[in-house]
Symmetry: C3
Subunit: 396 residues, 3 copies
């Protein structure tokens, strides 16, 4: 209970600018706002784990729109909604009339009557996903001002072409809990590195999100990838600027070994380069199936030249005390398990498996916190009231 009180007390101390705002990129938020999200997430987890009811909404809708396959994020969003008392309405574009020429503005308003949040995943097309989310967000803001919507739903980015804030914030909460505090992350070295995988077209949002977020907290962020696997230039700029401001550092190296050296944390993960993603975007828009096959073939061949980018015991031995924390957003391509050769060896993954599962477990709470902080002016007060009311989640 003391931990809970501390979490809520801190929320009240921070400068809160989240109310009525969307959550699209972590670097658009102040450090205080990010801390509020972490604390609200932890406070909600505390309440639930103490069998206290967390329904803030007696009724209300959470709209989800997934423009790419997703099990985990879909479930995380549904769980966040349920935790707060909201029901999910999924905008399935195959079932809907959206393909029939409706404007984004109109659809955004039509689906948002009585909605508290719209969670969007749109990570397939470089240059499109985040832009689409902003269009929706603008439409909803206007719809609210025009009196069409009784409330302005929060738009929450569930992964786009640029950032994956619900993932990176879950990762950050994992780090905070693992190392004891955000303060303790200062000076810690995190290696965000590319890793080999026999697949192509994996989004850039995770590495971009990680270098864009971890540089905010004074960490020494090292990025490594083979030639040709660049991230979006603007994300590189963001990371540099963040590091300068937070007193951390942002460095780029060209080998996994170099990145792993003395690292406190490693995050080895496969991705496609943004040039590939750009080409793919063009081909997808033109529905050029032949071109897509060619691109896939070329990319897999390119990937295959870097099979040595595998996180294994030898590589882990380069890290601080041979004992860095291994992170992954899951699912990982595990050598000998999910593929012949992959991002991580079986023994390394198994050693950290439970940790990566826990890392994933923060996501529903992070999403719930993003919803709550946008929809409720004073989240600390609501959390206090939930605890004070003391209603059981499970009747006993």
């Amino acid at each position: 209970m003391k931990d809970f009180q501390k979490l809520v007390y801190e929320i009240e101390e921070f400068n809160n600018e989240l109310h009525e705002k969307d959550f699209l990129l972590t670097w658009e938020k102040s450090v205080d706002d990010l801390k509020i999200i972490l604390n609200v997430a932890s406070a909600l987890a505390y309440l639930r784990n103490s069998n206290m009811a967390t329904r803030v909404f007696d009724s209300g809708i959470a709209v989800s729109q997934f423009r790419d396959n997703s099990t985990r994020t879909r479930f995380s969003f549904a769980k966040a909604a349920n935790l707060l008392g909201l029901s999910v309405c999924d905008l399935d574009e195959e079932k809907s009339q959206i393909a029939h020429g409706e404007t984004v503005r109109e659809t955004a308003n039509m689906i948002s009557f009585m909605a508290e949040v719209i969670g969007i995943r749109d990570d397939m097309y470089i240059g499109s996903g985040n832009t689409y989310m902003r269009e929706v967000a603008d439409a909803l803001k206007n719809g609210h001002m025009e009196g069409v919507l009784q409330q302005k739903p929060a738009v929450v980015n569930l992964q786009c072409d640029i950032d994956h804030p619900t993932q990176s914030m879950s990762d950050l909460l994992h780090l905070k809990n693992h190392f004891g505090s955000l303060e303790n992350l200062k000076g810690k070295k995190i290696a965000m590195t590319w890793a080999y995988s026999p697949s192509y077209g994996k989004p850039l949002s995770v590495p971009q999100g990680i270098i864009g977020l971890m540089t905010r907290f004074g960490m020494d962020v090292t990025l490594a990838h083979p030639e040709g696997y660049n991230l979006l230039p603007e994300c590189m700029e963001v990371a540099k600027k963040n590091a300068a401001e937070s007193g951390g550092s942002f460095e780029q190296v060209s080998s996994m070994d170099e990145a792993f050296k003395d690292a406190d944390i490693v995050y080895p993960k496969s991705w496609a380069s943004f040039t590939v993603m750009q080409t793919r975007t063009d081909l997808l828009k033109r529905s050029d199936q032949e071109g897509l096959k060619e691109l896939e073939k070329a990319c897999l061949a390119q990937n295959a030249r870097h099979k040595d980018w595998e996180c294994n015991e030898k590589k882990m031995n380069l890290t601080k005390n041979k004992d860095a924390l291994y992170m992954h957003c899951l699912p990982a391509d595990i050598t000998g398990i999910s593929c012949a050769e992959g991002e991580v060896s079986e023994d390394v993954f198994e050693k950290y498996r439970v940790q990566t599962y826990k890392e994933a477990g923060y996501k529903p709470y992070i999403i719930a916190a993003m919803i709550l902080a946008s929809r409720i002016k004073n989240p600390a007060e609501v959390l206090y009231n939930l605890a004070k009311n003391g209603k059981n989640r499970i009747l006993e």
Copy 2:
């Protein structure tokens, strides 16, 4: 609060025959019953907008069955269910065993254990949709009498081949609010006119629903369409009879200009003729893809002869004070926006855009009112109790 009290007071005064009944066609309901639906909808909106909880059901199921694509009605139904505390179970016929020869009666009963409502959209086949809904309704009535179902779920028509009562009732609520009262609608001229659209096969349920409903309230209803775009003869009869009884009028003219002349309200919207829909029904039942393509081609060519049926500024200048209220069930085919040439010009649509969005926003409340009035004997009392309990919708 005074407005709310007035709404609820009126509900008590009306002769209520909605309890345990289905909502399939507006013209099967008394004017009092229609007024009750409008008032319950407005009272629920008042409560929600005042942050008061509207859960009437602590648990319970709302079954939906969509036999045609739908985003908006699907979402409206889900929101109505959520507003009252119900969870949606969607009967997805692709996922189900229904295609395997089950009888309607059996399926209707099987899906209805614990259900408070079944919302059905079935507008593809002329002569089928409303008939199907009655089959389901009969099966549920019997199931309840036989002790199979603990309650008789309300069947709510979410659009059929004949009527679209949740749409027309939302439109009516929009008119009531816009003109101040139902009383004020007396003598107002509404022009329900066909409009050009580069698409075919649009259902007749909206124009039929509008002429069948607005003639109940003493309005002067004028229908206009090019030759060959007739509505169902029985709907024309209903409109005539209604107008005679309500002291309004029902007139048919052959040009948009004539219909718009001195109109207080215009509702320009594309539809297919019932002869086309009948042919299409036969072709669909025979899965005659070749025939369907031919029909589409012929219809689009027929449509294209009437591109002048566009609601634009020139046409709007013919209306009362050049300032009639423009209505549309959305999505509208907007010239230069959603198509090269369409139902409405961009400037006219933009002028009334917010109004049409608000018009659409009534639908979840109308559906909720239809559910509540069927399932609850004394809706006025329940609304009073919700207000008296004063539970917040959003905890603060």
Copy 3:
């Protein structure tokens, strides 16, 4: 209320080993545990039918995974979840990343954050379904022990290759209510017989479930099928053993007439033999479409030799007082209704139609009871508290 008190009192008296356990096969449960499920189901039905709220969970998730088509079980699961206050998250494997090489363990954990139950239907592959459920159950048990999952969700078998416990327990509750008590079932003859149907590949889980469950309660269970329609040998062993222990009997005969003779209850239903299902499993795994077509053809031809296995008036006249109770899990293949020649004649089915509908209506309560008994240590106390709190399900 007296009935309710008796039900709950009995629950307290039974030796309860259901807490934190899964429900995969009825013969893994003690008779006391089965009685608890029946009583909890009936007590929940009593509360709901008395307009008392049954939400035990203020928030929480019920995950469903259907690896085969299903309307009824899907709806039953959703209704059970709703009855207790849970929201359903459906794991749709087409929409998910599961096909992309994730391990069962990881997926099981990822979907289970905040989940109280995972209901699985997996009946297509002989040797796979129940095994898969056990893998999931093990993963969740470990996930809970490792601190990944705050609670261990109950795994509920919604039909597998071996058993169909939610069906057979609903059937048992139907028999208990029909004959007045479980005690009264002692010495009653139930004929579980194969019946002709112009379809193939129907699972064996129902007949196996029935002979495995009804032999627990001192019934005289007679199994009959044409040559070549054997059940799994281990299920036959289970039935024999059960009968010996309960003081009932388990007998196999080779004609429907013999089975029906003096029966108190008849359960005529089509199924494929396990050798056919095994062949089919192999063909499905190899995606051998040609082989599958051949198998279907051969099976339908084999079926067609046994069209005399139809439950009709002549057959029913062989039963005790010509008046045995007819049972079916639905949908039945009714001669002249759903097919030209089927499992049951129209007149026999119609005589018992309402009974079979009621039989089906128990399933949501049985599933809810399985969830509650696994998740709640003392279900009797919770039921008492629900009744004591006396909150209305429908506000009045």
